[in-house]
Structure formats: structure tokens, C-alpha cells
Amino acid sequence: MRVFAPPSMSLRFVPVWRRNLLVWRKLAIPSILGNLADPLIYVLGLGYGLGSMLPQVGGVSYVAFLAAGMVCSSTMNSATFEAMYSAFSRMHVQRTWDAIMNAPVDLDDVVLAELVWAASKSVLSGVAILAVVWLLGLSHSALAFWVLALLPLIGLAFGALALAVTAMARSYDFFMYYFTLLITPMSLLCGVFFPVEQLPPAFQAIAAFLPLTHAVAIARPLLLGNIPADVALHVLVLLAYAAAGFYAATILFRRRLLK
């Protein structure tokens, strides 16, 4: 079997992506509200509540500091949820993938469609939070528009990693491990709630390897009106996670479904 062959990339993924879009369109409003609720609670609760007791963080108010972290972690969470719970439902519970693969669409096309879809949906979440950040007046710089280009990268990186987890899952319970062992620690270690520099050096070293750190490192300066340092490095790390995660997911799905 061609288990280790590179993923075949073609536009055949588009109809599968459109299928997911059509489902989403039926539930778009509750879906967007759901995406907004969680990060909004953090921004309002932590940002204004906790923030009112804090001095300035990195030269700005805590809530303005937190905004970039929330944009990145919401995008991460949205891509992760879509590529785990929703993709698993389509693959394993509804057998939608089986139906698609009886048509002239290959497994690689389906996996690519799921990745691009997870990224698309996460971009919507990120944009929704960004809109709130602007409405609350937490960002004044036109540089913030560049975050729109960052969001798809975050979505692709975390969507790809989550798909690799989905390929190994036997049930929904399995996803808890990924949240407990990776997503939650990342939310705490990667500069979402406080600067990475506050961590002990060993944790800073770990954080340097985690994708969310690099997403926040680009988003925060942009929202605060500065040009980020080492953009190329951060972008490359995110691209590397996306590529490695997608390749791993492709191999694992082939082993699972084409045997």
C-alpha cells in the first residue's frame, strides 16, 4: 500500500469542502454565537475583571494585552474542535467519508478537504473575535489587518495536528487526552494570558517549540500597532506544524481506512 506516499493534492477536495459549508450554512448563526461566547467571557471576565487589579502588562492595559491571545487561542480551539469532533462524526459515526470515497474522490482529497474546512471555520472564529476587539477599542492600528493573514495559518497548523489525533481515535473520549495534554498546556504556556518571559527558563524553552507561542508572537505586536520581530521564523514554524501534521494525518488515515 502507498501508505507513506506524499498526500495527493488536487482541487477534488472542493466539493467535499462545499458539503461542509452547506451544513454550516444551516446552523451559521448559533455556530458563530457559540464561537464568540467563550472568548468573550475571557476577555470581559479576565481582561476587565482581573485586569483592573493589574498594572500595565508590556506597556498596555491587561485587556489589550489579552486580546491577541484570545484571537489566537479561539482560532486554535475552533480548528481543533472541527478537525476532531466534527471530522470524527463524519468519518466514523455518519460514515460520510465512506460515501464520498465511492465517488471519484480519494481519501487524500477528503483529508485535505477536512483540513481546509477546519481552517476556514477557525478563520471565521478568529475574525469574530477580532471584530469584538475592534468594537471594544482594544486595537487602534491598521497593522491589525495583517492578523487576517495569520488566521488561516493558525487554522491549518492546529487543524492538521487535530486531524492526526482523529485518525487515531476510537471514540470521542480519546480527544480528552489531546486537550488535557496539549491544548490546555498551550493555552497557559504560550503567552495567551501572560508574557512567556514570566515562565521559568525550562518552560520558556518548551514554549519556544509550541505552535501557539509563534502565533501569539505575530498577533500581539500587530494588534498593538508594532511590526513583529522574526516574522519569517514564526510563519515557518506554523507552516512546519501544518505540513507535518497533515502528512502524519494522511498516513494514519490511510492505515485506518484503506486497509
Partner: protein, 303 residues
Amino acid sequence: MAVLAAHNLHKSYDGEEVVAGVSFGIAPGECFGLLGPNGAGKTTTLRLCLGLTDPDGGSVELMQRPVPGEARPARARVGVVPQIDNLDPDFTVSENLLVYGRYFGLAERAIRERIPELLEFAGLTARAKSRIQTLSGGMKRRLTLARALINDPDLIFMDEPTTGLDPQARHLIWERLKQLLAAGKTIVLTTHFMEEAERLCARLAIMDRGRFITEGSPRELILRHIEPHVIEVHGDGVTEWADGEAGGLATRLEKSGDTVFCYAADPAPLLASLSRRTELRYLHRPADLEDVFLKMTGRELRD
């Protein structure tokens, strides 16, 4: 020119050979039945033919294309009705057809033009906007069949198309399959309903433990493998009767639970014997495909 040809297919899972040297060819317009108990390797054979898994040995040509190498373009001319219902639960009846047509790369307009005739064919015109959850089992099967026809395929694979349906729904599916055959389509059908195979298939193969154990038309198989008369006997003392008197009168006897199946070319001596044993009840009938199937694959349960 065969629309499907398999040569010496082999496939193993965890050291167990699920498909163990299967070869066959299917001509255009034919309805070919693949019969076998659960776990015989039928579904794996279909998956190999569609290029959904790679064989450990042997080769497949589907629509004159090598599979799995050119499985994708080959599948463009093929329709599949899978065993497990996998209609899209988030969509209505007609959205299911629309979305499925897009997977074939068909033009949006062409699909939308085709949907009404497919709904008509499936008897679902009135349900075009219904959600899948509101459909009965028979309606879902008909929709799955309509979905398999969205690309106007030359060859249709059907994996146990009527399993779990009531007789009315089953007869309607059979009716539709006959229409498709009359329209020149080729059908490959797996089933464990002998009646279905006898009604629809011009040619069939019985598969067991990964191999084709016999092949031919339903009539040929009955003539070749089984005595023409069957007498099913049950009642108190049937074992004693079978072990004694009946042994010399039937060509072959099979016991299953408290019923004895007597197979014979000439039923008269058996019937004469039974007329003297009023405590025994019996049913005299011509041999059918199910008798062939049970003779070839045994009566023990398969799980």
C-alpha cells in the same frame, strides 16, 4: 468486453486470508450475484474491485482500467449502494443528491436537471425537501439507490441492498433493479437472500472462506448440486424414522434441529413411507437455491 474483471485476488487481515484467490469477469448488461454467509469475503471483494483497498495479490480491471491505479476515473462510471446506510443526515433528500453529484465533478445545472427524474424513479418526489431522519428504512434505501445513479453509471455495485427491509420495500427495490437491467445497466449484487439472487441474477457465485466455491445460473446450480425434490420432515420420532427407514429411500438426509431434510431424485418411496407415519408432518417442495447454498456452506451459524 468485460466491465469488471478480477484475476486471482488475494487479501489478508492479520494473517487470515479473507479473499483467497478469486477470479471472475462480468459482461455488460449482466446481473451477477455474489452469495455467501457473513464473513465470506463478499464486501472485501467489492472493496478490492472499487480500489478502496489494495490487494495482496492479483489484479482488477474496472471499466477497462487497472484498479487501484486508475480507480478514480473508473469509479466515475460506477454507482455504489453500500451495505451500511451513509446518507448525509444534515441534508434533505434532494440536497443529498445534489451534494453527491458534485463529488463526481458534474455541472451544477446537470445535477439539478437530473434530480427530479431520480426522485421519480425512487418514488420520493413528494419527499424532496424532507430530512433524512424522517424517512422510513425503505425510503432511505431507495434514496441510496437514486444517489448511486446520479452519475448515470454503467455498472452498479449493490452490497446487500434489501437487508432489513419489509417485503413491500424489498419488492419495490427488485422492481427498480429490473428496470435498470432492462435499461442496459450492469449490476453486481451481494446478498444472502436466495430469493433475491434467484429473481434477479442471471449468473451467480457462492463464496465461502474467501473463495468462489461454485458459479453458474441459479438453475444450473440447482441441477448441478442438488437433488430435485426436498421433503422437510418434523414431529415426534423423526430421528428414529430418519435413522431407520428413510435412510434407504432418500439420496441424502440432513438434520437441522428437529427437522430432517430429505433430498431425493424420486420422492415417491419417501412419501409412501411418510403416509404410514401419521405422527410425522412434512412439506414436499422442489429444491431451490437455498438448498444449494446450505449444502455448499454448511448449516452451522456464522458470526
